[in-house]
């Protein structure tokens, strides 16, 4: 589902974030991406979401080469995935419901369908009773769950998360990771960047360790 072939990403100023990285994530697989700060975790996710483009190498999403994807095709690629951010990236001038429904509005779903799906997504993250609330009135964990609901409401094939538990206490973090596992169980390919080794090693999923822009063990575990 996600395939990186010999990918190098060099930022201006010659800082190399990723060096000749090879990585394959199968359809329906779930993996954690870990490593110290600056190891290239965020860069890897950004390349997959076409936020950044690789300096060298090839990236395939669902067997389609997105290395040189034209700008006008990027929106469609992103509708194919859901992205969860560490700092939620919620819009604070509209309700929880409106935040979660945004991907569906963008994709042009019918109103009844939007309502049904948003309710289902909020139910999944146990926030159905807060749909009319403004995000600012929610706790950090609740805001993150709204972010997750928004990332999955359009039933994406791929779910990417960048340090989704970065600001949360251990109990909440475990809940969030549990949520990701549940999405994976219904067939979503999940890739979560996290440095919380304790937590992710308990979940029994594949762990990809990055260091200095290179994969230390990812391919080994796959074998």
């Amino acid at each position: 589902m996600i395939e990186l072939q010999n990918v190098t990403k060099r930022y201006p100023g010659n800082r190399e974030a990723l060096t000749q990285l090879d990585l394959v994530l199968e359809r329906g697989e779930m993996a954690f991406l870990t490593g110290p700060s600056g190891a290239g975790k965020s860069t890897l996710l950004k390349l997959i979401a076409a936020i950044e483009r690789p300096t060298r190498g090839r990236i395939l999403i669902n067997q389609k080469n997105i290395t040189q994807i034209p700008k006008r095709k990027i929106p469609n690629l992103r509708r194919f995935m859901g992205i969860v951010f560490q700092d939620h990236h919620l819009l604070y001038d509209r309700s929880v419901f409106d935040n979660v429904s945004l991907p569906l509005q963008i994709a042009g779903y019918a109103r009844a369908e939007i309502r049904r799906r948003v309710r289902a997504a909020l139910d999944k993250v146990a926030l159905l009773n807060r749909e009319k609330a403004m995000p600012i009135t929610l706790s950090g964990g609740e805001q993150q769950r709204v972010g997750i609901a928004r990332a999955v409401v359009h039933k994406p094939a791929i779910l990417l998360a960048d340090e989704p538990t970065g600001n949360l206490d251990p109990g909440l973090s475990a809940e969030i990771m549990q949520l990701f596992s549940e999405f994976n169980q219904v067939g979503v390919t999940v890739l979560v960047a996290s440095h919380d080794l304790d937590l992710i090693s308990r979940l029994g999923k594949r762990i990809i360790r990055l260091q200095g822009g290179q994969c230390i063990n990812g391919q080994a575990q796959l074998a």
């Binding site: 509708r79 945004l102 779903y109 369908e113 039933k155 067939g187």
Partner: protein
């Protein structure tokens, strides 16, 4: 994974739902952008006022000029030539002159006012009788008023006629009533041009005012734009509310401009009528009709849209999540 099941994904929007969603999305943007103006009343009011003033100014001037032209057009019909004859001309001489003039192909009609009639008329219309009483003889000359044919009224032809008429011995002075009108029309033409240029300049300023407001708005909502793009929003989707915002600025600014114009006309209506009354003419101030009012608002909307389009154009494309 849905894609692997090969079943059609249930409830995916088909083209009809997508079209309906697009219409709904347009309506939503329309309402949303209006709500945004409402939520920032100070900034919005300022922008709308600037647009209104910038449009009302040339519109007012244009309408006043229109009114002036309407007044002069009424007088245009007269277009007559007055011959002031020698005070010493005898009735026979005048009669002979009239016969000769009547033969001219340019002249449609001749009206004779004798010195005596002129005096009577003067008495009737002015309050200066006592001045005239004091005079020993009638100072007023007899006059002939010539009405030229319509087709003879072209400037060059009339000028030649005036020159010819001046050569008759009994004619003391030829006055072409059209002359001052022509001058007035020439002045109006100059003013008309000036207003047009002023109008264009102010239209450009409207464009810039709207463009700047929208640009600031885009800057303030940069984060929102980035989020929307991250979850698959197209540039078009992001652009839409801003374009509608510009349209609202135009609509509200244009409507306010129209109100200002009407207000100005109401204020000057009474004194204008008094002024025209002094010239023994009755005159109704021309107010903008529905078509002109709508044209003003439509112009404003187009300027608003264009202004926001200029601001949105490259700006939104450049905002990308990082």
């Amino acid at each position: 994974m849905q894609a692997s099941t090969r079943r059609p994904i249930p409830n995916r929007p088909n083209s009809l739902t997508r079209f309906r969603a697009l219409v709904r999305e347009h309506l939503r943007s329309l309402v949303f952008s209006l709500g945004k103006l409402y939520r920032h009343p100070f900034a919005s009011t300022l922008t709308i006022l600037m647009i209104a003033v910038a449009l009302a100014l040339p519109a007012c001037m244009y309408l006043l000029l229109d009114n002036l032209q309407a007044v002069t057009e009424k007088w245009d019909d007269s277009g007559q030539i007055t011959l002031f004859l020698n005070v010493n001309s005898s009735e026979a001489e005048i009669e002979a002159l009239r016969t000769r003039l009547a033969e001219l192909k340019e002249i449609e009609n001749i009206k004779y006012v004798s010195a005596q009639q002129a005096l009577t008329e003067f008495r009737k219309f002015s309050r200066l009788e006592y001045l005239i009483e004091g005079l020993e003889e009638n100072p007023l000359p007899p006059t002939l008023t010539l009405i030229p044919f319509e087709q003879a009224k072209q400037a060059g032809q009339l000028d030649r006629l005036v020159q010819d008429l001046g050569t008759y011995p009994q004619v003391e002075h030829v006055q072409l009533d059209l002359q001052w009108l022509q001058r007035l029309q020439a002045i109006t033409e100059v003013v008309h041009r000036a207003i047009t240029i002023l109008g264009i300049t102010l239209a450009i300023s409207v464009l810039l005012v709207v463009g700047n407001s929208i640009r600031l708005d885009i800057e303030n909502r940069r984060e929102e734009i980035e989020v929307a793009k991250l979850i698959g929003a197209t540039n078009r989707f992001v652009r839409r509310p801003f374009l509608y915002g510009g349209m609202w600025y135009g609509l509200l600014g244009g409507s306010l401009a129209l109100l200002l114009v009407l207000l100005v006309l109401y204020v000057i209506e009474a004194p204008a009528q008094h002024l025209i009354g002094l010239y023994n003419s009755n005159f109704e101030l021309i107010f903008p009709d529905l078509r002109q009012g709508l044209a003003l608002i439509a112009t404003s909307i187009v300027l608003g849209l264009l202004g926001s389009w200029l601001a949105v154009g490259r700006h939104i494309v450049r905002i990308e999540p990082s």
